[in-house]
Amino acid sequence: MVGLMETAPTARLQLHDLQLAQGNRTVLEHVDGAFRDGAITALVGANGTGKSTLIQGIMGILKPVAGRVNCTVPKERRAWLPQQLALDLTFPMSVEELVMTGSWPSHGALKGYCARHYRKGREIMARLGISHLAHRPLGELSGGQRQRALIGRTLMQEAELLLLDEPFANVDAETVDVLTTVLRDMADSGVTLIVVLHDTEQLARLADEVVVLANGHAHWTATEAVLQGRTPQSPLVPLALGLTGANAC
């Protein structure tokens, strides 16, 4: 299906007739589209419709069965923030050390950090309100604090493409506010963001456009259309897309 991407043929991330499968089961097919640069695109869909599969395909972790992903963003500038449970929280690493790991992909494997890196790391932690946690081990953080630290790593990485899988799950309201502001600032500075969302309130606050996943296909549409239930699969209602929140039917 072709969507809003027709207006952006030079977008840094484009999908061409993409087919993705998990094992022998095709999850998505004939996915055609481009993600607008400097915009926040929400991925919505009920459980099992292929949100995580599409993210894996975009990151190159899942090879396409057919079609291709065209991404002109260098690998070291691509960041993927999976759900928090993927982290080994027993690993002895502090918040500051985690944030600094964001510089590794571009900085190289052997070089040490210089004052500029540490200064940047401190600025990022201050921006995210976690300066006071700099030396605290990851295992002692709350869900919201950990999510801020992980976003700090992507800021350190100077990501140009950021994929987030349910970034607001199990985090406090203050963290949602801080992260919403930071993600919007990133988009305004030209970063392409793709965010899996389940909450209509967050969708309304954050998304510039929406990709709806249903029945093995992807449909690009405007945020307002999803919020009002006018999706390409009309008469879909938010609950059918796996959305919850104040505006959900």
Binding site: G60, I61, K75, W80, M93, S94, T101, H135, P137
Partner: protein
């Protein structure tokens, strides 16, 4: 007093075999604990033990073909260790079974095959030597080999250090950067095999893993930071080598078990009085009042 110290600490090293054993032990102490720290942090503590058994058939084959030739036995050990690691990984991938269960099966097969091979071609003394090592056997060739392997391990570890940290903490971050997590894992297992091969001469195949794991698990009681774990682990391994060799010399006991038991005593003492998670800390723990400065 000075004479006593001299007799206990310095006089044993008048002998060349003691000096060579000490240098070999110190070289191993630089390479083994960092690997042990990563094995521990990756939840693979017992994989090291399995790999120690995996090198046995190769060591035995080297022994059968060339007698007590350390280069041949080491080569055999490396090849059989890598083969078992690859077979276990392949079986795990093909069957979907966890890697540790495949590894457990292969290490038992390896142990039996190794003991069988040594028994076929040698005496029980030979078997004891392969299984438990001997400082007397560390000649200059062995020393150069052990120091060389340790150097290769330290340099390689430095090169993959960041990838290893990221893969241990967050494998998906590494994969997102286009790294193959299995490649990092494979290089790491290869280093473990190399280290065990270097260590079997002094400690024996069964106890070489002790110099990896005991300093690492002991360091956990003294530091919460990765650099701290590695630094303290190396210090403990060095102290254990020195202490174990001296005990071995003065009490006429086998050097391998003496070194590992020395490290084991350090573990037990640390479990009782260490800075973190020890019995002493647990007994004296009180909740800090709100607003109190954070402990580091």
């Amino acid at each position: 007093m000075l004479a006593l110290l001299d007799a206990w600490l310095l006089a044993p090293f008048d002998y060349g075999f003691m000096r060579r054993a000490l240098v070999a032990g110190l070289a191993l102490s630089l390479a083994a604990p960092p690997l042990g720290v990563f094995l521990m942090l990756r939840g693979m503590s017992l994989i090291g033990d399995a790999m120690a058994h995996a090198i046995l058939p190769g060591v035995a084959l080297g022994f059968l073909l060339a007698g007590f030739s350390l280069p041949m036995m080491s080569l055999g050990g490396v090849l059989s260790g890598l083969l078992v690691a690859m077979l276990a990984g392949s079986v795990s991938q093909m069957t979907g079974h966890r890697e540790d269960s495949a590894m457990a099966s292969f290490f038992l097969i390896s142990l039996a095959a190794g003991v069988m091979l040594v028994s076929l071609g040698g005496s029980s003394v030979d078997l004891t030597h392969v299984l438990f090592g001997s400082v007397l056997a560390v000649n200059t060739t062995a020393l150069v080999l052990i120091a060389g392997i340790s150097s290769v391990i330290v340099v390689t570890l430095a090169m993959v250090f960041r990838a290893l940290v990221v893969e241990s903490l967050d494998p998906l971050f590494l994969r997102g950067q286009g790294w193959h997590a299995s490649l990092v894992h494979g290089v790491f297992l290869g280093l473990v095999v190399l280290n065990l091969t270097a260590g079997f001469q002094t400690l024996g195949t069964l106890m070489a893993v002790g110099l990896m794991m005991l300093p690492a698990t002991t360091a956990r009681f003294w530091s919460k930071r990765l650099e701290g774990l590695i630094g303290i682990g190396i210090a403990i391994a060095m102290a254990s080598n020195l202490g174990g060799l001296l005990l071995s010399y003065h009490l006429s006991i086998p050097s391998g078990p003496a070194i590992i038991l020395f490290a084991g005593a350090g573990y037990l003492v640390s479990a009782l009085v260490g800075r973190h998670h020890s019995l002493l800390v647990r007994l004296g723990r009180r909740a800090a009042p709100l607003g109190a400065p954070e402990p580091h």
